[in-house]
Symmetry: C2
Subunit: 309 residues, 2 copies
């Protein structure tokens, strides 16, 4: 599974009920990694990490359940910028990661260490050990992704998404093997520009996906013209794409065999078929882990059917 943050995590809560986690490998976006107070924060990897560990906060969608923010409140009192909500327990992850990275350990090894420490049975891989950073160009200039999304709450008209460093980035160890060995590949219901996009911007990953042996399915992050979370619909419009599942599906042309869209968007099914993808229409809104598991079942079945074709 190629994963961004919150949408991917929701789907994973279902998928991990329907698959043996030991057969699950998640390739996480690192384009929105950022440094805060000298600490290397990997928001998407951590969201997946906490989700697979069963420790994610079910309401917020990010961070650890039962989290406290005493360090952040103290930082605020010291006049430090606190727009990125670092929790006390979450800080431990960033401290351990940063210490290991500074000692020269690559992010993929650090991520595997964290996964092990959290008791994960699934494999969690950063898309790359190289430095890739997403920037959003708006009329206010070139903003690092977290600055755009969290600090400025995704305000401003998006002119361009830049995935800096991606062209030279190599997949992290294990990524190509995971894609090669997979029975099925899932593109999570995450933002195609800033969550899945950076993963696909790593040339060898895109090539591996284009030359895939196993079937691949993408799940729409857009339902009825809106993303459930985040600024996707505005990004699609601003960047000149149709604000619909078809607009998203076009971005994945040649990379997926199945496109899962919501019942409310069923009218787009023929258009998606015309893109060379099999449309699967179902309920995609994951109101609960049970909904997510049902959706995961639909996706796994579609991949299974695709293999038998």
């Amino acid at each position: 599974m190629l994963a961004g943050g919150v949408g991917a995590a929701r789907f994973l809560r279902g998928l991990s009920q329907r698959t043996d986690p030991r057969r699950l490998a998640v390739i996480g976006n690192t384009g929105d990694d950022e440094e805060f107070f000298g600490l290397h924060v990997s928001p998407d990897l951590d969201t997946v990490l906490y989700t697979l560990a069963g420790r994610a906060d079910p309401v917020r969608g990010w961070g650890v359940a039962g989290e406290t923010f005493h360090a952040l409140a103290a930082l605020d009192a010291l006049g430090a910028p606190v727009w990125f909500r670092l929790g006390d327990r979450d800080l431990a992850t960033h401290l351990v990661r940063t210490t290991a990275l500074r000692a020269g350990r690559p992010l993929s090894r650090v991520t595997a260490d964290l996964a092990r420490a959290h008791g994960l049975r699934a494999t969690l891989l950063p898309m790359t050990d190289d430095r890739v950073r997403t920037f959003v160009h708006t009329e206010r200039g070139r903003l690092p992704f977290q600055d755009y999304l969290v600090r400025r709450r995704a305000r401003g008209r998006v002119r361009r998404i830049e995935i800096a460093g991606a062209a030279r980035a190599r997949p992290a160890p294990g990524v190509l093997a995971a894609l090669h060995r997979a029975d099925g590949i899932v593109l999570a219901p995450s933002n195609p520009f800033v969550s899945i996009g950076p993963i696909l911007a790593v040339p060898a990953i895109r090539r591996a996906l284009a030359a895939r042996r196993a079937p691949a399915a993408a799940i729409t992050p857009l339902v009825g013209g809106r993303a459930l979370k985040g600024p996707l619909h505005r990004m699609l419009r601003a960047l000149g794409h149709e604000v619909s599942p078809r607009g998203v599906a076009r971005l994945y042309r040649g990379l997926v065999d199945v496109f899962v869209l919501d019942r409310v968007d069923a009218r787009f099914a023929p258009a998606i078929a015309a893109l060379g993808m099999r449309p699967v229409v179902t309920d995609t809104i994951m109101r609960s882990p049970a909904h997510a598991a049902r959706l995961a079942g639909v996706v796994l079945r579609a991949l299974h059917d695709e293999r038998r074709r």
Copy 2:
């Protein structure tokens, strides 16, 4: 005032009741600074900082009152070493300090920033902006100070104290001016080897104290042959010194005019006078802020008397 950690903090709780804090400058030991998870921790400066801010934990003697340790518990769960007790609120101090130091800001400026953010009216100065580190040589080898004191609980016979980097260290901006302008100088009731010792090991500070214009007083950290906290009595013995106020006073010969010792050690007063210091015998155990204030009053009076001689 030349200050170590806990003993100095207790005395400061009294001193700040008896002096205008705007006339108080504290020169803090940085020999026991240490890095944990890449964060620069200055335990003695922080103990003084939190004390002067009225935020120190009155029971533990270190850290912030009402502190929580959620980040530390999470670090522990990740298998990271947690023998140094970093609290959640305390982490904010280290994050801010480390970020500023990495940006090239000297420790003295960072300390002034922290003092301002905490609303301090007194001046808090690190002894130096240069890197000075205390090592304790025991039969187990050369141990960084926190490793010796906290991690190994001061076990093992001390062979030598090494203040690495002190010979080349320059006093931080403001330190010599504070000593020069002072009406009186106090050596806090801190360990003379590892708390006051590193400050005096900075050559220009020792010279300034030897050439002082204002009278200086030292307060014994040893009462009835024991330090109230820490391994001082064992250090004195192991390093071949008398385990008594006289043993401590000898270490300050030529640097102080007044030596304050406890009533239970009154018999050492003549021996201290023989060292060229005026002995002041009083109750030195600071069971409460009121006791500390009374002791501060005694010390201030002795310095006042000394000026009139």
